[in-house]
Symmetry: C2
Subunit: 150 residues, 2 copies
């Protein structure tokens, strides 16, 4: 046997299709964000900080559903680049309040515009109503009951 192989046994699984599409999107987005020296997670963090100035790292981690330890390097990088400021919370000295700098807001705006172009390239042929429907399904998956860890 040689040539194109069928994935018929996997075709009935939505998770398989989502994973395949997610890989394509991730690879294309990485190239799109490279000129900005941003990655998907760094951009997401910057966007949530810009949309919620003064929030704590724990709230950011919860909003993006990433583990707190994995956020440290991301926030460090944004701070070192002068895109956000990290200040001690006056009322709770354990917490760090995160806010975007003007430079952070400017870079975010440019990067989001590039992501728009990237999505237009990848999703441009798809009916906007279908896209909205897909987004709804993705949101409901996020809220679905999950298997408890052992």
């Amino acid at each position: 046997m040689t040539g194109a192989a069928s994935d018929a046994l996997l075709d009935g699984f939505l998770g398989y299709h989502i994973k395949r599409a997610s890989n394509v999107i991730q690879a294309d987005l990485a190239r799109t964000l490279k000129p900005f020296e941003l990655r998907m997670i760094t951009l997401s963090a910057l966007a949530v900080i810009a949309g919620n100035p003064g929030l704590r790292q724990a709230d950011l981690a919860a909003a993006l559903e990433i583990e707190r330890p994995n956020l440290v390097a991301v926030v460090d990088k944004l701070q070192r680049r002068g895109l956000i400021v990290r200040e001690r919370d006056a009322t709770d000295r354990r917490a760090h309040a995160l806010s975007p700098t003007p430079a952070g807001r400017r870079l975010l705006a440019k990067a989001l515009a590039a992501v728009h172009e990237h999505e237009a390239r990848l999703f441009g042929d798809i009916d906007p109503n279908r896209i909205a429907g897909v987004a709804d399904v993705m949101r409901s998956i996020r809220n679905a009951p999950r298997k408890p860890g052992q």
Copy 2:
């Protein structure tokens, strides 16, 4: 600022929603497949081999769109567990022909049944017509024009 943070700046991006859902699915699927000692990629490879007995590794890599080097360990593992056989192709001695063993087919059937339960848990509340529509969109994303690498 404390408490739930908004991701409003990211809400308009389909890629963001797909990534978030994909993470949830991946985590739940990993727990589902743990008793079988399979991961998403190992199961996918086994399923494609079972659906295309005798195919070459290069064809398997193309079918799953993963790099050839990353397939080696996956195929090794399946072979060491006696789930597939790897034979030299008679007409092209460079190539390896991959086929499932009876044990491989049995484990695949059990694992696919578990994945069905996992998808019912995650997607059970979603209208089947919408699920089919989402799968269509995911397939079209796979075929979308991509940014060339630098």
